[in-house]
Symmetry: C2
Subunit: 649 residues, 2 copies
């Protein structure tokens, strides 16, 4: 822990502000007093036992005064770490659940434990403690007679879903951020990303994303290296691409299997691999009739499973199918426009008609972007309306909806060109256009545009501050005011989605356009920098998210690699070289291709089955831990039995 | 627990004999004394704390005198149950790990716990305690200076692998067996098998086999019902079988998914679903250089992973492939013999040549049986030689080897007839022959032949006893002598293998021969009786085997159902009805069939993904248990924290 954020144990006087809590401007004073007292109350009384104080505002009447800073004592944080089952490194190099009782056996635990937990961990613990602050015997929020509370209900989630709690977020640590960003992206250098530092600052979820991004990019390098001579030496007569397709298939399988091992390795070192998931609370937006939860026995809103299934299968599913149909229809219109433009150009080739040639593509690109945007809103609305109880289930349904639509939107036209029109030159051309434009667009939209908007706002604040304080560091009050207005990072969804689509371009079609891998590598190298930059300077600091793998995305990438088997085999079948082997019988050709496809699929599954998901040295460590706990239990039991027999005598 | 087996707590005087331990006839007296003292020794001294006495032999000098009877006190059994983490029904209907501390909260726990554990459970506990009896500071087995021991090494396994311990097995409980067999197979009736009683007597592994057998048979009934009219009303012109094939595919997927739920339900009720696997000991046959186990830190034989992989991939795999090749070669010889016999018959059709027509089939059947037998020995030898450390890994490798070979042996000729010869009439004929002959052969070989051999032996013993005692029940001594000579039940392997092959006949080809399901149903109805009979009267009682599912067989059946998609689609493509739709273009037909196949495969995976593996009410019970233990832990922590803060003040 840095000097700038050291936490003082002295009661109430001054403490390091880790989390900002912003209530609505017009919140009743009574509710505020109640909330603060609940946050400060001792744990044994059902409070969160955290430190909290109001953000001092000097003469800025326009601003919202209801901003609070939350911190904690060290002892409380350690207790919280134990409650949450945080895994830390033990003195023997294994990862173990932290307990206060044997805290001195953990590596890097010195004295009172100052600096033992990273700031991100501290902030996550505070978030967890706030989230699990539960209503006791209050029937409603004081000052809001209509805002009912039930015993055991999370107070924060209730306030958040009713708009009284506007937001709560962890503050940036300027010094550490400066150090991290200089290691990460400030110098252009040939080295790995500082994943451990990223995890230290942003948590495991984000660090795994950057780890995956890096791994994916490195994995593409051999492919890119093979692709360049293909491109340079004019091997474009599709003749050599059978070899490339086979390489492609083996690569995509091995790539995903090895990533599982890498991610297990990373997650083990970060203590999230063997950590048990905490009991999941209902998501804030979940509503329903009050009933009994069969698991916890607590009163909470319940919503019938059958009703949700009805909504999913009778509304969402048909809607998604309709959207897919519309998307395909738009694609067909694009192709006919393209033909029409081409026919006009052929009739009278002049400047005007040659410009006309670009019109369909531009219209189509704009329409696709618009459809994506609209669909995204619709998908979020529908998934929300399906009223999932758990955030994880909500996320899975949203991801599935968005993925399917994006997949069709991006790849349908390529499939059409490849397998219906069978025009490989056009396919190559379209691939190149798509890859290059999406690369440029993405990075501008993702990082530079928001940053530019941000800067304009910040400058005003900076100016005002400078007028008062000169060239000093921004004080806490101003920093909070600034960060409060920054955009909220909505999670790794869009970042993974982009990688997913890039993976699709490479694995599905790169045998036709071997340069695809090169373009993706170039894209990802800049992506690392722009993503790093946007995390550090464009968005509010996100709460760290413990993750042991990349979750549903592993499945998505694996599905894509299975689809890649189909397309690559079909492309092999369409190659003139292969077709030359079967000069007369088309049936023979097709049967052979199908047979090869089945063998490749079987090979893929066997390979996935044979390669263990967790590296051996980590499996041994995990087994060791389990064995030791079993032995300890046995010893304890035996001692107890001896105790009993003694007392009997 | 029955009167005949009630266990007395009084020290040493008389106790119920649960397990028989047979040492070699020429075992050194010193070794016997040592072993018995180790078994009787207190747990705190590292002993098993069990009761043991020698089987009294009256004047039968020829017999082996080194037979011992092992039993236990109730308290010892309850401690053992707790050590092993046995799950029993709690008073609120959930299943929980048994602990002595709150034993009175378990259903059916009365008084001292007499009758709380079933005899099978008691015997399993004794087996476990014997297996985990470890060497202390002995360097070798007394009386055998060459038989070295290392601290922590299982004594029983060491003695067993060196042949000093001939066998150990649980004794039958005549009264309970009589009751079980009358419920199970003695009356012919239309009702379910008494699975709970089977589990009670034989353990979960065997009960799951019988549960699967019953489930499979019932699942086949709709298929059999549809198959009969197909057969009766001469729908044999392959025209209707497209419908049947599609039904077949959906059925086989749903069948396996629903079985997972049923097996989870059964395993939950039996307490094996959520029970943690015990730490697995090396199998008795495992040998290697003495080294340190990285997990336990104990000295034990180690064998290099690379060496084992070499043996697997450089010896076993080529050998298996060679065997497969030979099997296919033999098949081709059979087909040419068949053609040759047919040509002779065609030239001169008389009685002699018509008999000759059967010769190839008979020779082929005999050769197949012989190859199966030889291969089985070879597979066991090779898997043993691969020197797997764990029994589970040994079993998996053995199952895989045997499965692949049996699959090829049974189905290769059918595939050849279906897809190379494309002779559906012959396919139907071969299927019927195979099904009927294998059915009859199996049941004779499996149950009736061994029983007949057994009876002949038993009669002699019975006669001798009757001469002495008249018509009374067999005394313990005689019973042990009898059971000692019974065959050992080698596990459910062969029983599952038979069901696997039957499932193959039905799912792969039944669209061509709809009567297959009917034949399999008939087979399985009698199979239940013959298997039940053989378990009760032909084999030694096996130790109960805790199992939460059917293990590797689930995977085997699922693989078969995937192969079924390929064959059924191909059969659909070959049907004249479908071919009539594509009168000119073969390519169109093949592409359509391939597309249908891919859609069906995708549908299969989605279905398997959507159907939850564990029924909802059991998931809720499991979640409840987890939630409660989390809450209890939290409470404990909070109390501890309060305690600490109190002492500080």
């Amino acid at each position: 822990m840095q000097n700038s954020l050291s936490i003082s144990d002295s009661d109430g006087s001054s403490f390091v502000h880790l989390v900002v809590l912003e209530l609505a401007k017009n919140t009743e004073a009574e509710a505020i007093t109640w909330l603060l007292s609940r946050i400060r109350d001792k744990q044994k009384n059902g409070g969160a036992e955290l430190l909290v104080e109001q953000l001092p505002l000097e003469g800025q009447q326009k601003e919202n005064p209801n901003i609070f800073l939350v911190g904690s004592t060290w002892q409380r944080l350690l207790t919280g770490a134990e409650d949450m089952g945080l895994f830390k490194e033990f003195h023997d190099g294994t990862m173990r659940g932290f307990t206060n009782a044997n805290r001195d056996s953990f590596k890097e635990f010195h004295g009172d434990g100052d600096g033992f937990l990273s700031v991100a961990e501290c902030q996550y613990i505070i978030k967890h403690e706030l989230d699990t602050l539960r209503a006791k015997d209050e029937t409603h929020v004081p000052g809001y007679p209509k805002l009912r509370l039930y015993p055991g209900k999370s107070v924060i989630r209730r306030l958040q879903s009713k708009g009284i709690l506007v937001q709560y977020f962890p503050v940036h640590d300027k010094e550490e951020l400066k150090r991290l960003s200089s290691d990460w992206y400030k110098k252009i250098k040939l080295s790995f990303q500082p994943l451990d530092d990223i995890r230290h600052y942003f948590g495991e979820g984000l660090a795994l994303y950057f780890g995956f991004l890096e791994y994916f990019t490195f994995a593409l390098v051999p492919m890119a290296l093979i692709g360049i001579p293909y491109y340079l030496f004019d091997w474009e007569d599709y003749d050599k691409y059978v070899l490339f397709a086979v390489f492609n298939l083996v690569w995509s399988t091995v790539f995903l299997e090895v990533w599982k091992r890498c991610s297990a390795q990373l997650a083990y070192g970060w203590g999230t691999l063997s950590r048990k998931k905490a009991f999941e609370e209902p998501r804030p937006g979940f509503h329903g009739v009050l009933g009994l939860n069969p698991v916890t026995g607590r009163e909470e809103p319940t919503y019938s499973h059958a009703k949700r299934q009805m909504r999913i299968y009778l509304v969402s599913l048909p809607f998604v199918l309709l959207c897919l149909y519309i998307s395909l229809h738009v694609m067909m219109i694009y192709f006919s426009m393209e033909t029409w433009a081409l026919s006009i150009y052929d009739e009278d080739p002049n400047l005007l008609t040659s410009v006309l040639l670009f019109i369909p593509s531009i219209i189509y690109a704009v329409v696709i972007e618009l459809m994506n945007l609209l669909y995204r809103y619709a998908a979020e609305f529908l998934t929300n309306w399906e009223n999932h109880r758990l955030e994880s289930s909500f996320q899975n349904h949203l991801v599935l909806k968005v993925l399917v639509f994006n997949f069709i939107n991006c790849f349908a036209s390529l499939f059409y060109i490849a397998f219906v029109m069978q025009d490989m030159a056009l396919l190559r051309h379209s691939l190149a256009t798509l890859l290059i434009t999406s690369q440029i667009l993405n990075q501008v939209m993702e990082a530079f545009l928001p940053y530019w908007l941000q800067r304009r706002r910040n400058k005003k604040v900076h100016k005002r501050v400078r007028r008062v304080m000169g060239d000093q560091e921004l004080p806490m009050v101003e920093q909070v005011q600034l960060e409060r207005d920054m955009n909220t990072y909505l999670g790794t969804f869009d970042d993974y989605l982009e990688q997913f689509l890039l993976f699709g371009y490479v694995s599905l079609f790169s045998c036709v356009y071997p340069l695809a891998a090169v373009l993706v590598v170039l894209n990802n190298v800049t992506e690392v920098y722009s993503d790093a930059f946007k995390m550090c300077h464009v968005f509010k600091r996100p709460f760290s998210e413990p993750a042991s793998d990349i979750g549903v995305w592993q499945l998505a990438f694996e599905t894509m690699s299975i689809i890649a088997v189909f397309t690559n085999c079909a492309l092999i079948g369409l190659s003139p070289q292969v077709q030359a082997y079967f000069p007369e019988a088309d049936t023979q050709l097709i049967l052979t291709v199908v047979a090869v496809e089945h063998v490749l699929l079987a090979f893929k599954f066997i390979l996935a089955f044979i390669i263990p998901d967790v590296p051996k040295h980590i499996r041994i460590k995990l087994a060791k831990l389990e064995f030791e706990s079993l032995e300890a239990l046995k010893k304890k039991k035996m001692l107890e039995a001896a105790e009993i027999s003694k007392t009997k005598k």
